[in-house]
């Protein structure tokens, strides 16, 4: 029982990353009708926002310590971060420690900016082009973005730890009298994802802006005819979708050390999620994200693996095939979207 609860938790946790990425993808697809293969790259750029902030906070000046030597036998240069020099080791140290949460603030303007430039500079010209062209150009963009990151940050994973205070484990089962040990940061990540998803939904549901966007998603032409400048709003939505992907990336860095190809690792998976959820359906994307996360976790349980060897390698795809064959347009897809 504990084990099952633990795997459900795990699944929700994995699912929150899938759901966040899929949500952004669906927002872009639903509003702009563009299949964005560079969305994984946005996730990756978000993660590197955290890395960058960590590096900025760790910018150091060097002092030579004659008592120690470096690996070549020269006097050791000791590095002291400016932040620590300015605010004292205590405060400075904790600022550095909180780099990842701070990176949220750092990442939002950057991601919206990246999204804006991408949409105005490139994607805009592809609205009328076939989906295949959109896939190709955004795929090319994804390669370029990840290679640029690789050029500056290298190919190895880069450790970006969570603040010490959030680094331990907590017992989630204490309330119900069970022993469910779970890392604090993962719980934070889950609630963060729920918050973002809730935020996006209420934004679309309760604001005029959101209403226009939803109407535009349903029937772009008609809304355009009403004299509403739908394009400008869609540009903003692209920025928001980029920010969602970016924040998902920022918060993900303590869970797994980011590397330049993490976007590609998530890309295929997030497309499977979006399609299983149903193209263009926001609730579908979120639902499918959590569903696949949970199923993936269950499939990695030893009991299930011993029943069907290798099931954890293919579970996502098996589920995708079953769902698509029984529900032609995914869980919550609309008819006629991306079917030709």
């Amino acid at each position: 029982m504990d084990a099952i609860l633990l795997q459900i938790l795990n699944g929700l946790d994995k699912g929150s990353a899938y759901a966040l990425i899929a949500l952004g993808l669906t927002l872009i697809f639903g509003t702009l009708g563009v299949v964005n293969f560079a969305h994984g790259a946005l996730f990756m750029i978000g993660a590197f926002c955290a890395v960058t902030l960590q590096r900025i906070l760790n910018l150091s000046f060097e002092t030579v310590d004659e008592t120690q030597t470096d690996f070549l036998g020269n006097p050791l240069k000791v590095k002291t971060p400016y932040v620590e020099a300015w605010f004292g080791p205590e405060v400075g140290g904790s600022i550095i420690d909180w780099a990842v949460p701070l990176a949220i603030l750092f990442a939002i303007p950057i991601m919206i900016g990246v999204g804006y430039v991408m949409e105005r500079g490139l994607i805009k010209h592809f609205y009328k082009r076939p989906h295949a062209d959109q896939i190709l150009v955004t795929f090319g963009l994804a390669i370029v973005l990840q290679e640029v990151i690789k050029y500056f940050y290298g190919a190895n994973p880069i450790q970006t730890p969570a603040p010490d205070a959030l680094n331990g484990v907590m017992n989630l089962g204490a309330l119900i009298g069970m022993d469910i040990i779970y890392p604090v940061w993962r719980v934070v990540y889950f609630f963060f994802a729920v918050l973002i998803i809730g935020g996006i939904f209420s934004f679309l549901q309760f604001t005029t802006f959101g209403m226009v966007v939803r109407a535009g998603m349903a029937d772009r032409e008609t809304v355009g005819l009403l004299g509403i400048n739908i394009d400008r709003r869609f540009t903003i939505m692209f920025g928001i979708a980029a920010a969602v992907a970016g924040l998902a990336g920022v918060m993900y860095t303590p869970i797994n050390s980011p590397n330049y190809h993490m976007g590609m690792d998530f890309l295929v998976l997030s497309f499977v999620v979006v399609v299983v959820g149903g193209m263009g359906s926001l609730p579908g994307a979120v639902l499918a994200g959590f569903l696949l996360g949970v199923l993936e976790s269950f499939a990695s349980m030893n009991e299930i693996k011993s029943l069907i060897p290798g099931i954890d390698q293919i579970i996502i795809y098996v589920v995708a095939i079953i769902i698509l064959l029984t529900r032609p347009r995914g869980l919550m897809g609309r008819k006629g979207v991306m079917e030709d």
Binding site: D133, G140, Y151, V268
Partner: protein
């Protein structure tokens, strides 16, 4: 000729000349010049050009004609490769049975996957094919290791039975693939002045098969079947209400293109008897999509151009290193040389992906019809210029 009209015949002849004279065309630079780095006329790369050309031609029969975007075609390539290598392991080193088996196995595999996947269309179809291919890849990499040899890839060993051949040659080596005794790896070399050209048996076998595959694809494009496939792409609804059952048409196209992929896989294994699971990964499926669209989907020659373009970058640009750069720019003053090397450095060697990504984007942005459109534009521009020339001369003549 060959049941083709004049235009298609001349295209076939052009392709035939290009492939048969490829060892010359691809080695334009003298062996010792700094530009020799850009020579692509060595057997392995030439083989890859034509093999991936075959793969892309087949993919284009499905995608270019019916519009069904399969993201799992690499699975058929992989299945073909594995079958061919198993043939070499169990039966013998002749390439003919191996290639035949790989085409058949890939065809059956495609029939199975196509039958299920074609129940959906659009992106749902794409994701179904992707899911099947990724499953094949993941299983081949892990659980199916007894059949696929997992990470390492299926290789020949000295203990293979090879019932119609020998397990090991007299000098204790693994025998090499051959066509009735003609070894695939044997190469004729010819030197003309500072140029060197290599003529490889394996390459010419691949090239002949490419020509056959290309010819077949022209026939399919021009046939009623090809027309039906284009009609499927254009309007399925009208197809159905015109008394035509679209499913068998798309399935036939899927199987045919799967068999092309199997043929490519079989040839790949025949040139180099190894089959790795990476051949089935989604990136490999994506690569053939890129080749086809980049070259020009739905055109006859486009996929072959796209295949050449990508393989050229992968194999030539990745091999340029700073040393080579310095030797190119060595005629310049030191500071300038270093500056140039510094500028070019991110785009070569380990940066070849970056260059490829940028070129993809440029082609897609400015040439929506792919490289073929680029060619047409140049042709159009030239003929306009010619027309203008003759016009102006026509105008000036009376004045004189």
């Amino acid at each position: 000729m060959f049941g083709l009209d004049k235009k298609d015949t001349s295209m076939l002849i052009i392709v035939a000349c290009l492939t048969l004279f490829a060892p010359f065309i691809l080695n334009p630079f003298p062996t010792d010049s700094a530009m020799a780095q850009f020579n692509a006329g060595y057997p392995d790369l030439m083989q890859r050009f034509v093999i991936f050309g075959i793969f892309a031609i087949g993919f284009n029969i499905l995608f270019g004609l019916t519009g069904y975007l399969s993201f799992g075609h690499a699975a058929f390539l992989g299945a073909g490769s594995y079958s061919a290598v198993w043939m070499f392991k169990l039966v013998g080193m002749n390439v003919i049975p191996a290639i035949l088996l790989s085409v058949i196995v890939a065809g059956l595999f495609a029939l199975l996957i196509g039958f299920v996947s074609l129940r959906r269309s659009g992106i749902y179809f794409s994701i179904l094919t992707l899911a099947f291919a990724q499953m094949s890849f993941n299983l081949a990499y892990s659980v199916l290791t007894p059949i696929t040899n997992g990470e390492t890839g299926l290789q020949l060993t000295l203990d293979d039975p090879r019932i119609l051949g020998v397990s090991a040659t007299a000098d204790g080596s693994i025998p090499v693939t051959s066509l009735f005794g003609l070894e695939m790896r044997s190469t004729f070399e010819m030197a003309i002045g500072p140029w060197a050209f290599q003529f490889n048996v394996g390459y010419y076998l691949c090239a002949l098969i490419l020509l056959a595959a290309f010819y077949l694809s022209i026939r399919i494009f021009r046939s009623p079947f090809g027309m039906m496939l284009r009609a499927v792409k254009s309007n399925q609804q009208r197809m159905n209400y015109t008394g035509l059952n679209t499913r068998p048409y798309t399935l036939a196209a899927f199987v045919i293109s799967g068999m092309y992929a199997g043929l490519a896989g079989g040839l790949m294994a025949s040139m180099d008897p190894l089959a790795g699971a990476e051949r089935m990964q989604w990136t490999a499926s994506g690569e053939v999509v890129l080749m086809t669209i980049l070259g020009g989907a739905g055109t006859l020659i486009g996929p072959v151009l796209g295949a050449g373009f990508i393989k050229y970058f992968e194999n030539i640009f990745s091999k340029i290193n700073d040393n080579v750069l310095h030797s190119w720019f060595s005629f310049m003053p030191d500071g300038m040389e270093d500056a140039l090397v510094f500028i070019v450095h991110p785009f070569i060697g380990k940066g070849w992906h970056l260059t490829l990504g940028i070129l993809f984007m440029l082609v897609v942005i400015f040439l929506p019809g792919g490289l073929v459109e680029g060619g047409q534009r140049i042709k159009g521009w030239l003929s306009r210029r010619k027309a203008k020339d003759s016009n102006t001369s026509g105008e000036t003549n009376p004045a004189e």
